[in-house]
Symmetry: C2
Subunit: 110 residues, 2 copies
DNA sequence: CGCTTGATTAGACGTCTGCCAAAATAGGCG
DNA sequence: CGCCTATTTTGGCAGACGTCTAATCAAGCG
């Protein structure tokens, strides 16, 4: 399963790449982190908007990208929309990048 | 350190995003996997080029992106250039995405 | 040397991305 | 209902991205 164990085939790469792409923007990375690390597991969009110097539509756009790749879910309750991280998705990506031996012990080649 | 433990600040996000962005393309993902999973730890560019329906310059471009983000290193030996994955970099990204509890056991909220 | 093979760089082209302002949708409340 | 706040959708624009062809750089060899 990890990327270092055996070569990803085209299909696997095609399926994984969009998730990494979603993480490839600083704003989305922070959004995901804000959501994933929040006590209670969910965050209201209004709280996220305040954390950036960006307009609400822009934040909404980034959240949509995260949602479409399955990294977060959204639920409307009354006036507000709450976002929640999907630990399953994060764990999968983490596993794909995981290296068998501790990275620090990388062998030296002559 | 992991993304779920506490919110990434702007600087951390700015530093991590380019790496994830580099992984956000299927071709680069496969390239990295081919390099990282190869016996001996290194792969000649000529072998990589053959694995795709893309021109050599395009492969070279993607390898450059991977190299610039520190995910791989390149070394020329004679006629050929060999690429090698940086386990340290992979491990770091994996750690950032890691979730404390197994993803499967995600708690259910009422 | 001059050629050949391996790899990268330069330049061009269409597409995608991130941002914003403006408009639309959703729900609550007087 | 009509309005107000929260959020998303639409449309437009500048810049970035992935790909190619053509040209250039590197190294080995006759």
């Amino acid at each position: 399963m990890p990327l270092v164990s055996e070569p990803l085939n085209a299909g696997q790469a095609e399926r994984l790449a969009p998730s990494f792409k979603a993480l490839g923007d600083p704003v989305r990375l922070r959004l995901l982190s804000l959501i994933a690390s929040h006590a209670g597991g969910e965050v209201c969009v209004c709280d996220l908007t305040d954390a950036f110097d960006l307009t609400a539509p822009t934040i909404s756009h980034h959240l949509k990208v995260l949602k479409e790749t399955g990294l977060v879910t959204a639920e409307r309750r009354g006036t507000w929309v709450y976002y929640r991280a999907r630990a399953e998705a994060l764990g999968l990506l983490s596993a794909v990048l995981a290296v068998p031996q501790p990275a620090v012990l990388q062998e030296s080649n002559a």
